[in-house]
């Protein structure tokens, strides 16, 4: 399990760490017993374009690096395009992620969806993100685990 140089760059020099004061939308996903929690705040302009994004993350190298790059990728994007960003897109941007990291550590795409829907709800508009499993505090990534067979020793 080795991280790419780009993952290590975003882990060592995370971009856009923090909280936007007076944010238009905020999303928090993850579960402390799983060890990863991610919070993202966004600023949105009148044309539904994301002007600014900041994050805070508790988690492993992959959780921090994916949070960092998502904040970079979504700035300047329309909300409807930003929520289409998939975990695989994020992994590809980072030059790949170890398979064990894909579904428990890539929280930022879900965090963004929650933040976008939060913004839309505040405006009295309909959500556009669909179901977001990891926004449920009882979400357990073990239940959809398909990577770790206990017999694989």
């Amino acid at each position: 399990m080795i991280y790419s140089d780009k993952v290590m760059d975003h882990f060592n020099n995370p971009r856009n760490v923090g909280v936007i004061e007076g944010a238009d939308g905020v999303g928090e996903v993850g579960n402390i017993s799983c060890g990863d929690i991610m919070k993202i705040s966004i600023k949105v302009d009148d044309n539904d374009v994301i002007e600014d994004a900041k994050f805070q993350t508790l988690g492993c190298g992959a959780a921090i690096a994916t949070s960092s790059i998502v904040t970079e990728l979504i700035k300047g994007k329309k909300l409807e395009d930003a929520v289409k960003l998939s975990k695989q897109d994020v992994a590809d941007e980072l030059g790949g992620l170890p398979s064990a990291k894909m579904h428990c550590s890539v929280l930022a795409t879900d965090g963004l969806k929650v933040a976008v829907d939060d913004y839309l709800a505040k405006q009295g508009r309909e959500p556009i993100s669909g179901e977001i499993k990891s926004a449920d505090p009882n979400f357990d990534p073990h239940e959809e685990d398909d990577h770790h067979d206990k017999d694989d020793y």
């Binding site: 399990m1 991280y3 290590m8 882990f11 060592n12 995370p14 760490v17 928090e28 402390i32 017993s33 799983c34 060890g35 990863d36 929690i37 991610m38 919070k39 805070q56 993350t57 508790l58 988690g59 492993c60 190298g61 992959a62 959780a63 921090i64 170890p98 064990a100 990291k101 428990c104 550590s105 990534p141 073990h142 685990d145 770790h148 206990k150 017999d151 020793y153």
Partner: protein, 392 residues
Amino acid sequence: MTYLDYAATTPVDKRVLESMLPYFSEHFGNANSLYQVGRDAYHALEAARETIASGIGAARPSEIIFTSGGTEADNAAFVSVLKRIAPDGGHLITSAYEHPGILNLVISLGKQGYDITLVQPREDGLIHADDLAKAMREDTKIVSIMHGNNEIGTVNDVKTLAEIAHSRGALFHTDAVQSLGKVPFNVQDLGVDMASFSAHKIYGPKGVGALYLRRGISFDSFLKGGGQEGRRRSGTQNVAGAIGFAKALELCLEEMDAEALRLSVLRNHIVNRVTSALENTQATVSGDMLLPGIASLLINGVEGESMLLQLDNQGYAISTGSACSSGSLDPSHVLLAVGVKKEIAHGSLRVSLGRFTTEEDVDGFVDALIPIVEKLRAMSPVYQRYFGKESS
């Protein structure tokens, strides 16, 4: 690089390396060949066996079987003995916080039809005699409880646990991979029937270990072949490895008392400095029954892998029990077994010290750790919510 992961592996001591070198190209013979170069290898191998036998208090050198390491010794102790004493099933006991070499082996035997019981350690990190006694059954065949735990460093009272196993007619095995050469370990004093060892934890080479098998225990090797090691472990012996193992053990035993004292002072220094400099931190276990070189720390509100990677950036090699570093989703089974909550176990660090660790190394480590923890806690969205006293 400052290496603080001696419980994972150790560098080969130069004195050990020197002892091994002649046995690669000069005295290269097969220890089973009758001519001179073979006899030279044979005599060196048997001398190594005697050194190890006497180092662990075995009654006879023939009770030492050289293996490829601790895991093979563990597998031999169960599989090769069960083939003789209980081929059709029976009850096996081990603990819930064993090294995977035992734990996954026993779980696998459970799937093959053996009944298994995993005794839970208490919060003090030890297996209690009462708990083992309750787990014992009339048909218990083998009990395996580790001597020193590799993650938290606790040392079990193996002598009492072995007596309980014997009182109910079971054999007793112990994984002594972490404790050998670090604290006193004598198979006859402790009354164990079988014990596993590994050279690379004691400044010897990787790829060699041993099983202590008390004379008289039925054993049908799971490795079939040329019948080396008294028909108990086929395969041409790793002569240089065995010699390195013996030299490594000899050095550890010579230096053990002074080294144990030195390392426990350094270990306590780390625990004291970290817990006083950083709020919401603690040692996983405390007490007297500890390996001298292992500091297990719980750093609340920080994920272990991110600490590991940042420490690595500054040249410090340590390990963590967080899920992320193990490639699994759950944090360390050892920490969970001793009652550490998952959210706390994700922030565990194991700092393990050894022969080449200096006071400057451990102070440098703590100096590096403190700002890393502060930075990662500041980056966390929930640190103040779960652990903070007030907003910072």
